[in-house]
Symmetry: C2
Subunit: 288 residues, 2 copies
Protein backbone atom coordinates (compact mmCIF):
# COMPACT_ATOMS: atom_id res chain seq x y z
CA UNK A 1 0.00 0.00 0.00
CA UNK A 2 1.10 3.52 -0.69
CA UNK A 3 0.16 6.62 1.23
CA UNK A 4 -0.27 8.42 -2.10
CA UNK A 5 -3.60 6.57 -2.34
CA UNK A 6 -4.88 9.07 0.14
CA UNK A 7 -2.58 11.94 1.03
CA UNK A 8 -4.99 13.07 3.69
CA UNK A 9 -4.44 9.97 5.81
CA UNK A 10 -1.29 11.45 7.32
CA UNK A 11 -3.42 14.22 8.81
CA UNK A 12 -5.93 11.75 10.26
CA UNK A 13 -7.64 12.68 13.52
CA UNK A 14 -10.00 10.50 15.55
CA UNK A 15 -13.56 11.48 14.80
CA UNK A 16 -15.63 12.75 17.72
CA UNK A 17 -17.41 9.95 19.55
CA UNK A 18 -20.87 11.26 18.69
CA UNK A 19 -20.08 10.77 14.99
CA UNK A 20 -18.96 7.22 15.64
CA UNK A 21 -22.09 6.57 17.63
CA UNK A 22 -24.62 8.21 15.31
CA UNK A 23 -27.58 5.93 16.02
CA UNK A 24 -28.85 3.84 13.16
CA UNK A 25 -26.26 5.09 10.64
CA UNK A 26 -23.72 2.33 10.96
CA UNK A 27 -25.27 -0.28 8.58
CA UNK A 28 -25.47 2.36 5.85
CA UNK A 29 -21.92 3.61 6.52
CA UNK A 30 -20.54 0.06 6.51
CA UNK A 31 -22.20 -0.65 3.14
CA UNK A 32 -20.79 2.56 1.66
CA UNK A 33 -17.33 1.74 3.01
CA UNK A 34 -17.33 -1.85 1.84
CA UNK A 35 -18.69 -0.94 -1.59
CA UNK A 36 -15.86 1.58 -1.85
CA UNK A 37 -13.22 -0.98 -0.86
CA UNK A 38 -14.58 -3.48 -3.36
CA UNK A 39 -14.39 -0.81 -6.05
CA UNK A 40 -10.82 0.07 -5.07
CA UNK A 41 -9.75 -3.58 -5.31
CA UNK A 42 -11.47 -3.89 -8.71
CA UNK A 43 -9.81 -0.71 -10.02
CA UNK A 44 -6.30 -1.27 -8.62
CA UNK A 45 -5.69 -5.04 -8.61
CA UNK A 46 -1.96 -4.38 -8.90
CA UNK A 47 -2.04 -2.60 -5.56
CA UNK A 48 -4.78 -4.41 -3.64
CA UNK A 49 -5.19 -8.18 -3.79
CA UNK A 50 -8.20 -8.21 -1.49
CA UNK A 51 -10.06 -6.34 1.23
CA UNK A 52 -11.67 -7.21 4.53
CA UNK A 53 -15.07 -5.78 5.37
CA UNK A 54 -16.03 -3.32 8.08
CA UNK A 55 -19.10 -4.20 10.10
CA UNK A 56 -21.79 -2.13 11.88
CA UNK A 57 -21.14 -3.82 15.20
CA UNK A 58 -23.49 -1.59 17.18
CA UNK A 59 -26.27 -3.46 15.32
CA UNK A 60 -25.23 -7.13 15.57
CA UNK A 61 -27.96 -8.43 13.24
CA UNK A 62 -26.99 -5.89 10.61
CA UNK A 63 -23.32 -6.74 11.16
CA UNK A 64 -24.02 -10.39 10.40
CA UNK A 65 -25.98 -9.46 7.28
CA UNK A 66 -23.25 -7.06 6.11
CA UNK A 67 -20.61 -9.71 6.63
CA UNK A 68 -22.59 -12.12 4.48
CA UNK A 69 -23.18 -9.47 1.80
CA UNK A 70 -19.51 -8.41 1.74
CA UNK A 71 -18.24 -11.98 1.53
CA UNK A 72 -20.82 -13.31 -0.92
CA UNK A 73 -21.43 -10.28 -3.14
CA UNK A 74 -18.39 -8.03 -2.90
CA UNK A 75 -15.68 -10.67 -2.64
CA UNK A 76 -14.39 -9.56 0.75
CA UNK A 77 -11.82 -12.00 2.14
CA UNK A 78 -12.42 -11.43 5.83
CA UNK A 79 -13.81 -8.91 8.30
CA UNK A 80 -12.39 -6.37 10.69
CA UNK A 81 -13.85 -5.68 14.10
CA UNK A 82 -12.72 -3.37 16.87
CA UNK A 83 -11.74 -4.36 20.38
CA UNK A 84 -14.88 -2.84 21.85
CA UNK A 85 -18.25 -1.80 20.49
CA UNK A 86 -19.10 1.59 21.95
CA UNK A 87 -17.59 0.47 25.24
CA UNK A 88 -19.04 -3.05 25.24
CA UNK A 89 -16.88 -6.20 25.06
CA UNK A 90 -16.75 -8.63 22.16
CA UNK A 91 -17.67 -11.58 24.37
CA UNK A 92 -21.23 -10.24 24.71
CA UNK A 93 -23.76 -12.87 23.65
CA UNK A 94 -25.04 -10.67 20.80
CA UNK A 95 -21.75 -10.93 18.91
CA UNK A 96 -21.34 -14.68 19.12
CA UNK A 97 -23.40 -15.53 16.01
CA UNK A 98 -21.05 -13.33 14.01
CA UNK A 99 -17.90 -14.99 15.36
CA UNK A 100 -19.43 -18.42 14.83
CA UNK A 101 -20.47 -17.64 11.26
CA UNK A 102 -16.98 -16.29 10.44
CA UNK A 103 -15.49 -19.48 11.84
CA UNK A 104 -17.98 -21.66 9.94
CA UNK A 105 -17.03 -19.87 6.70
CA UNK A 106 -13.33 -20.06 7.60
CA UNK A 107 -12.77 -16.33 7.11
CA UNK A 108 -10.31 -14.37 9.20
CA UNK A 109 -11.35 -11.72 11.71
CA UNK A 110 -8.96 -8.78 11.97
CA UNK A 111 -9.03 -7.26 15.46
CA UNK A 112 -8.16 -3.58 15.63
CA UNK A 113 -7.84 -1.61 18.89
CA UNK A 114 -10.20 1.29 19.55
CA UNK A 115 -9.78 3.79 22.36
CA UNK A 116 -9.80 7.57 22.62
CA UNK A 117 -8.75 10.10 25.23
CA UNK A 118 -12.22 9.67 26.72
CA UNK A 119 -10.90 6.56 28.50
CA UNK A 120 -8.98 7.92 31.51
CA UNK A 121 -5.79 6.31 32.81
CA UNK A 122 -6.51 7.16 36.45
CA UNK A 123 -9.71 6.68 38.41
CA UNK A 124 -9.33 10.28 39.61
CA UNK A 125 -9.20 11.77 36.11
CA UNK A 126 -11.66 12.29 33.27
CA UNK A 127 -9.44 11.76 30.24
CA UNK A 128 -6.18 10.25 29.09
CA UNK A 129 -3.30 12.73 28.65
CA UNK A 130 -0.36 12.85 26.22
CA UNK A 131 -2.00 10.36 23.86
CA UNK A 132 -1.33 7.54 26.30
CA UNK A 133 -4.73 6.19 25.19
CA UNK A 134 -3.06 5.53 21.83
CA UNK A 135 0.50 4.54 22.74
CA UNK A 136 -0.36 2.08 25.50
CA UNK A 137 -4.17 2.10 25.49
CA UNK A 138 -4.45 0.47 22.08
CA UNK A 139 -2.24 -2.53 22.89
CA UNK A 140 -4.04 -2.76 26.24
CA UNK A 141 -7.38 -2.86 24.41
CA UNK A 142 -6.08 -5.62 22.16
CA UNK A 143 -4.84 -7.65 25.13
CA UNK A 144 -8.09 -7.26 27.06
CA UNK A 145 -10.22 -8.24 24.06
CA UNK A 146 -8.07 -11.32 23.50
CA UNK A 147 -8.43 -12.32 27.16
CA UNK A 148 -12.18 -11.84 27.12
CA UNK A 149 -12.52 -13.98 23.99
CA UNK A 150 -10.32 -16.67 25.54
CA UNK A 151 -12.18 -16.81 28.86
CA UNK A 152 -15.57 -16.71 27.12
CA UNK A 153 -14.70 -20.11 25.64
CA UNK A 154 -14.70 -18.93 22.03
CA UNK A 155 -11.82 -21.20 21.02
CA UNK A 156 -13.52 -24.25 22.48
CA UNK A 157 -16.75 -23.44 20.62
CA UNK A 158 -14.90 -22.53 17.40
CA UNK A 159 -11.56 -24.35 17.49
CA UNK A 160 -10.49 -23.23 14.03
CA UNK A 161 -11.47 -19.55 14.30
CA UNK A 162 -8.84 -17.24 12.82
CA UNK A 163 -8.37 -13.94 14.66
CA UNK A 164 -5.55 -11.65 13.58
CA UNK A 165 -4.36 -9.22 16.24
CA UNK A 166 -2.67 -5.91 15.52
CA UNK A 167 0.67 -4.64 16.86
CA UNK A 168 2.10 -8.13 17.30
CA UNK A 169 -0.56 -9.41 19.67
CA UNK A 170 -0.73 -6.51 22.11
CA UNK A 171 0.96 -7.20 25.43
CA UNK A 172 0.73 -10.99 25.34
CA UNK A 173 4.22 -11.95 24.09
CA UNK A 174 6.16 -9.63 26.41
CA UNK A 175 4.05 -10.70 29.38
CA UNK A 176 4.01 -14.38 28.47
CA UNK A 177 5.00 -15.15 32.07
CA UNK A 178 2.05 -13.27 33.55
CA UNK A 179 -0.33 -14.78 30.99
CA UNK A 180 1.16 -18.21 31.67
CA UNK A 181 1.93 -18.82 35.32
CA UNK A 182 -0.17 -15.82 36.35
CA UNK A 183 -3.40 -17.10 34.79
CA UNK A 184 -2.70 -20.69 35.79
CA UNK A 185 -3.65 -19.24 39.18
CA UNK A 186 -6.83 -17.50 37.98
CA UNK A 187 -9.03 -16.91 41.00
CA UNK A 188 -6.33 -16.60 43.64
CA UNK A 189 -6.51 -12.81 43.43
CA UNK A 190 -10.30 -12.59 43.44
CA UNK A 191 -12.66 -12.74 46.40
CA UNK A 192 -16.03 -11.83 44.88
CA UNK A 193 -16.11 -14.31 41.98
CA UNK A 194 -15.34 -18.02 41.86
CA UNK A 195 -13.24 -18.65 38.77
CA UNK A 196 -12.23 -22.19 39.74
CA UNK A 197 -15.00 -23.77 37.66
CA UNK A 198 -14.01 -21.71 34.64
CA UNK A 199 -10.37 -22.72 34.95
CA UNK A 200 -11.33 -26.39 35.28
CA UNK A 201 -13.64 -26.16 32.26
CA UNK A 202 -10.88 -24.96 29.95
CA UNK A 203 -9.35 -27.68 27.81
CA UNK A 204 -5.93 -26.06 27.78
CA UNK A 205 -3.90 -23.74 29.99
CA UNK A 206 -5.10 -20.16 29.41
CA UNK A 207 -1.82 -19.24 27.71
CA UNK A 208 -2.25 -21.98 25.11
CA UNK A 209 -5.40 -20.31 23.85
CA UNK A 210 -3.52 -17.04 23.39
CA UNK A 211 -1.08 -18.80 21.07
CA UNK A 212 -3.98 -19.58 18.74
CA UNK A 213 -4.38 -15.95 17.73
CA UNK A 214 -2.45 -14.56 14.77
CA UNK A 215 -0.39 -11.39 15.07
CA UNK A 216 0.92 -8.83 12.61
CA UNK A 217 4.35 -7.22 12.49
CA UNK A 218 3.17 -3.61 12.92
CA UNK A 219 5.59 -2.68 15.70
CA UNK A 220 7.05 0.34 13.86
CA UNK A 221 10.50 -1.11 13.37
CA UNK A 222 11.06 -2.60 16.83
CA UNK A 223 13.50 -5.45 16.29
CA UNK A 224 13.57 -6.91 19.82
CA UNK A 225 9.80 -6.73 20.13
CA UNK A 226 9.29 -8.42 16.78
CA UNK A 227 11.63 -11.23 17.81
CA UNK A 228 9.71 -11.60 21.09
CA UNK A 229 6.34 -11.69 19.32
CA UNK A 230 7.52 -14.18 16.74
CA UNK A 231 8.88 -16.38 19.51
CA UNK A 232 5.45 -16.41 21.15
CA UNK A 233 3.11 -16.88 18.19
CA UNK A 234 5.40 -18.91 15.96
CA UNK A 235 6.29 -18.34 12.33
CA UNK A 236 3.00 -19.76 11.01
CA UNK A 237 0.94 -17.25 13.01
CA UNK A 238 2.68 -13.97 12.14
CA UNK A 239 1.76 -11.85 9.11
CA UNK A 240 3.46 -8.84 7.61
CA UNK A 241 1.89 -5.42 8.29
CA UNK A 242 3.31 -1.93 8.68
CA UNK A 243 0.69 0.59 9.89
CA UNK A 244 1.41 2.84 6.93
CA UNK A 245 0.63 5.78 6.60
CA UNK A 246 0.91 6.74 10.28
CA UNK A 247 4.67 7.30 10.28
CA UNK A 248 6.65 10.54 10.72
CA UNK A 249 7.93 10.40 7.11
CA UNK A 250 6.26 8.57 4.21
CA UNK A 251 7.26 4.95 3.78
CA UNK A 252 9.31 4.76 6.99
CA UNK A 253 7.31 2.02 8.72
CA UNK A 254 7.31 -0.14 5.61
CA UNK A 255 11.07 0.16 5.16
CA UNK A 256 11.82 -0.37 8.84
CA UNK A 257 9.48 -3.33 9.25
CA UNK A 258 11.06 -5.06 6.26
CA UNK A 259 14.48 -4.25 7.67
CA UNK A 260 13.51 -5.82 11.00
CA UNK A 261 12.32 -9.03 9.37
CA UNK A 262 15.49 -9.24 7.31
CA UNK A 263 17.58 -8.84 10.47
CA UNK A 264 15.82 -11.70 12.30
CA UNK A 265 18.10 -14.23 10.58
CA UNK A 266 15.18 -16.35 9.49
CA UNK A 267 15.42 -18.96 6.74
CA UNK A 268 13.89 -17.81 3.45
CA UNK A 269 11.01 -20.20 3.91
CA UNK A 270 10.02 -18.54 7.21
CA UNK A 271 10.28 -15.07 5.72
CA UNK A 272 8.08 -16.18 2.84
CA UNK A 273 5.49 -17.37 5.34
CA UNK A 274 5.49 -14.00 7.12
CA UNK A 275 5.57 -11.87 3.99
CA UNK A 276 3.11 -13.86 1.92
CA UNK A 277 1.98 -17.40 2.59
CA UNK A 278 0.37 -16.88 6.02
CA UNK A 279 -1.64 -13.98 4.61
CA UNK A 280 -2.67 -16.04 1.59
CA UNK A 281 -3.88 -18.77 3.91
CA UNK A 282 -5.77 -16.35 6.16
CA UNK A 283 -7.35 -14.64 3.15
CA UNK A 284 -8.07 -17.90 1.33
CA UNK A 285 -6.43 -16.59 -1.80
CA UNK A 286 -4.33 -18.52 -4.30
CA UNK A 287 -0.63 -18.98 -3.88
CA UNK A 288 2.04 -21.47 -3.02
CA UNK B 1 14.18 -14.07 49.93
CA UNK B 2 12.32 -17.16 50.96
CA UNK B 3 8.59 -17.64 51.08
CA UNK B 4 9.06 -19.46 54.40
CA UNK B 5 9.54 -15.99 55.93
CA UNK B 6 5.80 -15.62 55.61
CA UNK B 7 3.88 -18.69 54.56
CA UNK B 8 0.70 -16.66 54.35
CA UNK B 9 1.99 -14.59 51.44
CA UNK B 10 0.99 -17.27 48.96
CA UNK B 11 -2.63 -16.79 50.05
CA UNK B 12 -2.41 -13.03 49.65
CA UNK B 13 -5.53 -11.18 48.55
CA UNK B 14 -5.84 -7.48 47.74
CA UNK B 15 -7.26 -5.65 50.73
CA UNK B 16 -10.58 -3.87 50.18
CA UNK B 17 -10.11 -0.31 48.96
CA UNK B 18 -11.67 1.21 52.09
CA UNK B 19 -8.89 -0.34 54.18
CA UNK B 20 -6.24 1.07 51.86
CA UNK B 21 -7.88 4.45 52.01
CA UNK B 22 -8.53 4.64 55.76
CA UNK B 23 -8.15 8.41 56.20
CA UNK B 24 -5.31 9.59 58.37
CA UNK B 25 -3.96 6.12 59.14
CA UNK B 26 -1.28 5.91 56.46
CA UNK B 27 1.58 7.76 58.26
CA UNK B 28 1.16 5.46 61.25
CA UNK B 29 0.93 2.33 59.09
CA UNK B 30 4.03 3.35 57.10
CA UNK B 31 6.01 3.86 60.31
CA UNK B 32 4.94 0.46 61.65
CA UNK B 33 5.82 -1.18 58.35
CA UNK B 34 9.20 0.48 58.00
CA UNK B 35 10.12 -0.18 61.64
CA UNK B 36 9.27 -3.83 61.00
CA UNK B 37 11.41 -3.99 57.85
CA UNK B 38 14.35 -2.36 59.66
CA UNK B 39 13.98 -4.95 62.43
CA UNK B 40 13.87 -7.78 59.88
CA UNK B 41 17.07 -6.56 58.21
CA UNK B 42 18.76 -6.25 61.62
CA UNK B 43 17.68 -9.75 62.67
CA UNK B 44 18.36 -11.59 59.40
CA UNK B 45 21.37 -9.87 57.78
CA UNK B 46 22.22 -13.13 56.02
CA UNK B 47 18.88 -12.96 54.21
CA UNK B 48 18.27 -9.23 53.80
CA UNK B 49 21.03 -6.81 52.89
CA UNK B 50 18.76 -3.75 52.96
CA UNK B 51 15.18 -2.54 52.70
CA UNK B 52 13.38 0.26 50.91
CA UNK B 53 10.75 2.24 52.77
CA UNK B 54 7.02 2.45 52.16
CA UNK B 55 5.53 5.93 52.20
CA UNK B 56 2.10 7.33 53.15
CA UNK B 57 1.61 8.94 49.77
CA UNK B 58 -1.95 10.07 50.44
CA UNK B 59 -0.34 12.59 52.82
CA UNK B 60 2.58 14.01 50.79
CA UNK B 61 4.07 16.02 53.69
CA UNK B 62 4.02 12.95 55.91
CA UNK B 63 5.48 10.89 53.05
CA UNK B 64 8.43 13.26 52.80
CA UNK B 65 8.97 13.12 56.57
CA UNK B 66 8.72 9.33 56.63
CA UNK B 67 11.21 9.06 53.79
CA UNK B 68 13.66 11.20 55.74
CA UNK B 69 13.07 9.22 58.93
CA UNK B 70 13.47 5.86 57.19
CA UNK B 71 16.65 6.90 55.38
CA UNK B 72 18.29 8.77 58.28
CA UNK B 73 17.13 6.73 61.27
CA UNK B 74 16.24 3.26 60.05
CA UNK B 75 18.92 2.84 57.40
CA UNK B 76 16.52 2.37 54.50
CA UNK B 77 18.31 2.34 51.15
CA UNK B 78 15.53 3.69 48.99
CA UNK B 79 11.77 4.10 48.83
CA UNK B 80 8.90 2.38 47.08
CA UNK B 81 5.94 4.21 45.66
CA UNK B 82 2.93 2.97 43.72
CA UNK B 83 1.90 3.98 40.23
CA UNK B 84 -1.09 5.93 41.50
CA UNK B 85 -2.12 7.38 44.84
CA UNK B 86 -5.76 6.55 45.41
CA UNK B 87 -6.40 7.16 41.73
CA UNK B 88 -4.24 10.28 41.39
CA UNK B 89 -1.11 10.43 39.20
CA UNK B 90 2.45 10.77 40.45
CA UNK B 91 3.08 13.89 38.39
CA UNK B 92 0.75 15.89 40.67
CA UNK B 93 2.55 18.94 42.08
CA UNK B 94 2.19 17.68 45.65
CA UNK B 95 4.52 14.73 45.01
CA UNK B 96 7.33 16.66 43.36
CA UNK B 97 9.15 17.65 46.59
CA UNK B 98 9.42 13.95 47.41
CA UNK B 99 10.84 13.01 44.00
CA UNK B 100 13.23 15.94 44.15
CA UNK B 101 14.43 15.09 47.65
CA UNK B 102 14.99 11.45 46.64
CA UNK B 103 17.00 12.65 43.66
CA UNK B 104 18.99 15.12 45.82
CA UNK B 105 19.86 12.30 48.22
CA UNK B 106 20.63 9.94 45.32
CA UNK B 107 18.30 7.22 46.61
CA UNK B 108 16.38 4.94 44.28
CA UNK B 109 12.61 5.04 43.93
CA UNK B 110 11.02 1.65 43.29
CA UNK B 111 7.82 1.99 41.28
CA UNK B 112 5.23 -0.73 41.87
CA UNK B 113 1.96 -1.00 39.95
CA UNK B 114 -1.34 -0.71 41.80
CA UNK B 115 -4.73 -1.52 40.34
CA UNK B 116 -7.71 -3.61 41.42
CA UNK B 117 -10.79 -4.97 39.73
CA UNK B 118 -12.44 -1.65 40.53
CA UNK B 119 -10.76 -0.24 37.40
CA UNK B 120 -12.94 -1.45 34.51
CA UNK B 121 -11.51 -2.46 31.14
CA UNK B 122 -14.52 -1.21 29.18
CA UNK B 123 -16.32 2.11 29.46
CA UNK B 124 -19.58 0.14 29.55
CA UNK B 125 -18.58 -1.98 32.55
CA UNK B 126 -18.08 -1.40 36.26
CA UNK B 127 -15.21 -3.75 37.01
CA UNK B 128 -12.38 -5.69 35.42
CA UNK B 129 -13.06 -9.41 34.88
CA UNK B 130 -10.81 -12.49 34.96
CA UNK B 131 -8.06 -10.60 36.85
CA UNK B 132 -7.19 -8.66 33.70
CA UNK B 133 -6.61 -5.71 36.08
CA UNK B 134 -3.61 -7.69 37.35
CA UNK B 135 -2.29 -9.49 34.25
CA UNK B 136 -2.35 -6.50 31.91
CA UNK B 137 -3.55 -3.68 34.17
CA UNK B 138 -0.40 -3.68 36.29
CA UNK B 139 2.03 -3.32 33.39
CA UNK B 140 -0.32 -0.72 31.90
CA UNK B 141 -0.22 1.21 35.19
CA UNK B 142 3.57 1.09 35.16
CA UNK B 143 3.71 2.33 31.57
CA UNK B 144 1.27 5.17 32.18
CA UNK B 145 3.10 6.31 35.33
CA UNK B 146 6.40 6.31 33.44
CA UNK B 147 4.89 8.38 30.64
CA UNK B 148 3.36 10.88 33.03
CA UNK B 149 6.69 11.33 34.82
CA UNK B 150 8.49 11.75 31.49
CA UNK B 151 6.04 14.32 30.09
CA UNK B 152 5.93 16.22 33.40
CA UNK B 153 9.61 17.04 32.85
CA UNK B 154 10.86 15.14 35.90
CA UNK B 155 14.04 13.96 34.18
CA UNK B 156 14.92 17.49 33.09
CA UNK B 157 14.41 18.80 36.63
CA UNK B 158 16.21 15.82 38.23
CA UNK B 159 18.54 14.41 35.57
CA UNK B 160 20.07 11.81 37.86
CA UNK B 161 16.88 10.52 39.48
CA UNK B 162 16.85 6.73 39.79
CA UNK B 163 13.47 5.09 39.25
CA UNK B 164 13.28 1.30 39.15
CA UNK B 165 10.27 -0.10 37.30
CA UNK B 166 8.76 -3.51 37.94
CA UNK B 167 8.08 -6.29 35.41
CA UNK B 168 10.86 -5.18 33.06
CA UNK B 169 9.59 -1.67 32.48
CA UNK B 170 5.94 -2.39 31.76
CA UNK B 171 5.02 -2.15 28.09
CA UNK B 172 7.83 0.17 27.01
CA UNK B 173 10.36 -2.29 25.55
CA UNK B 174 7.88 -4.29 23.50
CA UNK B 175 6.27 -1.11 22.19
CA UNK B 176 9.53 0.73 21.64
CA UNK B 177 8.29 1.65 18.16
CA UNK B 178 5.09 3.26 19.45
CA UNK B 179 6.99 5.05 22.22
CA UNK B 180 9.61 6.14 19.69
CA UNK B 181 8.15 7.15 16.35
CA UNK B 182 4.66 7.32 17.85
CA UNK B 183 5.52 9.94 20.46
CA UNK B 184 7.82 11.83 18.11
CA UNK B 185 4.44 12.84 16.65
CA UNK B 186 2.84 13.80 20.00
CA UNK B 187 -0.05 16.11 19.27
CA UNK B 188 -0.98 14.82 15.84
CA UNK B 189 -3.74 12.68 17.37
CA UNK B 190 -5.10 15.38 19.66
CA UNK B 191 -7.48 18.21 18.84
CA UNK B 192 -8.31 19.69 22.24
CA UNK B 193 -4.78 20.23 23.60
CA UNK B 194 -1.70 21.75 21.98
CA UNK B 195 1.25 19.51 22.80
CA UNK B 196 3.62 21.12 20.31
CA UNK B 197 5.16 23.39 22.94
CA UNK B 198 5.71 20.46 25.29
CA UNK B 199 7.42 18.44 22.58
CA UNK B 200 9.67 21.38 21.66
CA UNK B 201 10.55 21.98 25.33
CA UNK B 202 11.87 18.45 25.80
CA UNK B 203 15.65 18.17 25.57
CA UNK B 204 15.54 14.65 24.11
CA UNK B 205 13.14 12.55 22.07
CA UNK B 206 10.44 11.17 24.39
CA UNK B 207 11.78 7.64 24.02
CA UNK B 208 15.22 8.66 25.27
CA UNK B 209 13.73 9.63 28.63
CA UNK B 210 12.16 6.18 28.94
CA UNK B 211 15.59 4.61 28.62
CA UNK B 212 16.64 6.43 31.78
CA UNK B 213 14.41 4.30 33.97
CA UNK B 214 15.71 1.08 35.47
CA UNK B 215 13.83 -2.19 35.10
CA UNK B 216 13.77 -5.47 36.99
CA UNK B 217 13.72 -8.99 35.60
CA UNK B 218 10.41 -10.04 37.18
CA UNK B 219 8.84 -11.46 34.02
CA UNK B 220 8.12 -14.91 35.52
CA UNK B 221 10.57 -16.79 33.39
CA UNK B 222 9.82 -15.20 30.01
CA UNK B 223 13.03 -15.57 28.00
CA UNK B 224 12.07 -13.59 24.88
CA UNK B 225 10.56 -10.78 26.93
CA UNK B 226 13.64 -10.55 29.14
CA UNK B 227 15.85 -10.32 26.06
CA UNK B 228 13.60 -7.58 24.65
CA UNK B 229 13.66 -5.60 27.91
CA UNK B 230 17.40 -5.92 28.28
CA UNK B 231 17.84 -4.72 24.71
CA UNK B 232 15.82 -1.59 25.51
CA UNK B 233 17.17 -0.57 28.91
CA UNK B 234 20.73 -1.85 28.54
CA UNK B 235 22.71 -4.06 30.87
CA UNK B 236 23.51 -1.23 33.31
CA UNK B 237 19.81 -0.49 33.89
CA UNK B 238 18.43 -3.96 34.59
CA UNK B 239 18.34 -5.53 38.07
CA UNK B 240 17.51 -9.03 39.17
CA UNK B 241 14.08 -9.61 40.73
CA UNK B 242 11.69 -12.55 40.77
CA UNK B 243 8.29 -11.65 42.28
CA UNK B 244 8.57 -14.49 44.76
CA UNK B 245 6.31 -15.69 46.46
CA UNK B 246 3.53 -15.24 43.90
CA UNK B 247 4.29 -18.36 41.89
CA UNK B 248 2.25 -21.55 41.47
CA UNK B 249 4.88 -23.63 43.29
CA UNK B 250 7.43 -22.30 45.84
CA UNK B 251 10.69 -21.10 44.35
CA UNK B 252 9.58 -21.46 40.73
CA UNK B 253 9.97 -17.80 39.71
CA UNK B 254 13.41 -17.59 41.27
CA UNK B 255 14.63 -20.72 39.49
CA UNK B 256 13.09 -19.73 36.16
CA UNK B 257 14.33 -16.15 36.25
CA UNK B 258 17.88 -17.32 36.96
CA UNK B 259 17.51 -19.88 34.17
CA UNK B 260 16.42 -17.13 31.77
CA UNK B 261 19.40 -14.93 32.60
CA UNK B 262 21.77 -17.85 32.16
CA UNK B 263 20.25 -18.59 28.73
CA UNK B 264 20.77 -15.01 27.48
CA UNK B 265 24.38 -15.83 26.56
CA UNK B 266 25.68 -12.78 28.38
CA UNK B 267 29.31 -12.38 29.39
CA UNK B 268 29.93 -13.00 33.10
CA UNK B 269 30.53 -9.31 33.66
CA UNK B 270 27.05 -8.45 32.37
CA UNK B 271 25.41 -11.15 34.45
CA UNK B 272 27.25 -9.82 37.51
CA UNK B 273 25.83 -6.37 36.80
CA UNK B 274 22.29 -7.72 36.61
CA UNK B 275 22.56 -10.07 39.57
CA UNK B 276 24.49 -7.77 41.90
CA UNK B 277 26.37 -4.66 40.88
CA UNK B 278 23.48 -2.62 39.49
CA UNK B 279 21.51 -3.25 42.67
CA UNK B 280 24.49 -2.30 44.82
CA UNK B 281 24.81 0.94 42.90
CA UNK B 282 21.08 1.71 43.18
CA UNK B 283 21.07 0.88 46.88
CA UNK B 284 24.34 2.69 47.56
CA UNK B 285 25.72 -0.35 49.34
CA UNK B 286 29.28 -1.60 49.28
CA UNK B 287 30.55 -3.96 46.65
CA UNK B 288 32.72 -4.30 43.64
Amino acid sequence: MNSAICGRCSAWRPPPLEVLAAPGQSPHLARVGNDGLAELVARCPDRFVAFVASLPMDDPDAALREMERALDTLGAKGVQVYTNVLGEPLDAATFQPLFEEAARRDVGIWLHPARYDTFPDYLGEDKSLYEIWWTFGWPYETSVAMARLVFSGLFDRCPDIKIITHHMGGMIPYFEGRVGYGWDQLGTRTTDEDYSGLLRSMKQRPIDYFRRFYADTALFGALAGTRCGLDFFGVDHVVFATDIPFEPTPGLYCRETISVIERLDLPDDHKDQIYRRNAERLLNIGGA
